[in-house]
Symmetry: C2
Subunit: 244 residues, 2 copies
Amino acid sequence: MQFTSEQRLDDGVLEREFTLGEIPGILWTPGSASAQAPLILVGHPGGLSKMRSRLAGRARHYAARYGFAAATIELPGSGERPRLAAVEQARTDLRRAMVAGQPVGDEIVDALVLPLVEKAVPEWQTTLDTLLALPEIGGPVGYEGGVISIGIRLAAVEPRIAAANLFAGSFVPAAMYEEARQVTIPLQVLLQWDDEGNDRQAALDLFDAFGSKEKTLHANVGGHAGVPQFEIDAGARFFARHLS
Amino acid sequence: MQFTSEQRLDDGVLEREFTLGEIPGILWTPGSASAQAPLILVGHPGGLSKMRSRLAGRARHYAARYGFAAATIELPGSGERPRLAAVEQARTDLRRAMVAGQPVGDEIVDALVLPLVEKAVPEWQTTLDTLLALPEIGGPVGYEGGVISIGIRLAAVEPRIAAANLFAGSFVPAAMYEEARQVTIPLQVLLQWDDEGNDRQAALDLFDAFGSKEKTLHANVGGHAGVPQFEIDAGARFFARHLS
């Protein structure tokens, strides 16, 4: 890992850009860390520069108010990273189906999401190895955000992840419902009730499928980008219960 | 209103039992009130002595940690209060239908709940008049708990109620879905995902029906009595956003 920039923000949080091999990322750590900080991995749908201010808002709240470290990396095939041919093809097929008003078939959803999960999860795990080796970061680790299928796989296979705050999203492959049953860590699931691009019943079915004994659904009025501000703190408090 | 007992609890909260005409109730006020405290009306399914420790747990958290006053009254036809013949009959019909494994018809649900709503809502309003006249209590006012149909009617007709934290429950008359559309105040709705006695889809439909622009559903794993401890504080924080 190479740090490529470093900035002390006005809330005392240290924001560092890094590259891990070819993967760009950002790390936020609290200004006054007495002990090793728990770590939140902050997921997103891809396009780090576009998502940056929203991600930084959450990460800085976590770091400044709760003493958590938070980190994000670019998704495979997004931002400045080389495109994934199969995913690009699926995206074209998806767009064509939606423009034509046709139902989006399982094969399109699988082609769109599964290669991303396959590639992104090991990258998150490598990131985790590297970040946990830094002296200022300790366990335990939480994951939050979308792509929800990546969160499901990580929660199912990565034992260092102790809790996850997942954002419901559209286009979840059928196979991920099976994987959701394997997830047993505490979960919070955020659902935008009026998300035009998201099948509400499918999201409720997915919440139902998770094997976790502690799982909470937070459903809020509004569209995909309308997550209320207070959910940032609700997420932090969820992690505070499980990571502190 | 007559206070019939008064006790200073170890968290500094003042707990007073009262009667308002024939209606028994309990009022909790914060130990160190600098200004007039906002008020939370704490609803319940009836049977104050049976419910008391659970209600006091929430009320004392609100008073001690957030500086809210909280009050509850006995439901019509419950506890020491005279039975309501029509409601008792509906209860018998309900039990008979459930034992026989028959569906519970709309007419049973209406007979069980509507007279209770008709009688309880004006009682809550009289209680509100009386409590708001106390020097230590000011507005604004929140309502929380069940019976959800009582909460819906109160939220729809009582302009002094500024926010409501409603507990989803079974047996909601069809007419209440229409009233729910009239509700426009900020809402939080608590749903136990595996509540045996509660139709999950009906609860989701009711959440969908509310007219409020800010509404949040908190669904948690577990049965009717399994509401997680952390939801007490989530309720308090919801009220803190809207009543402070």
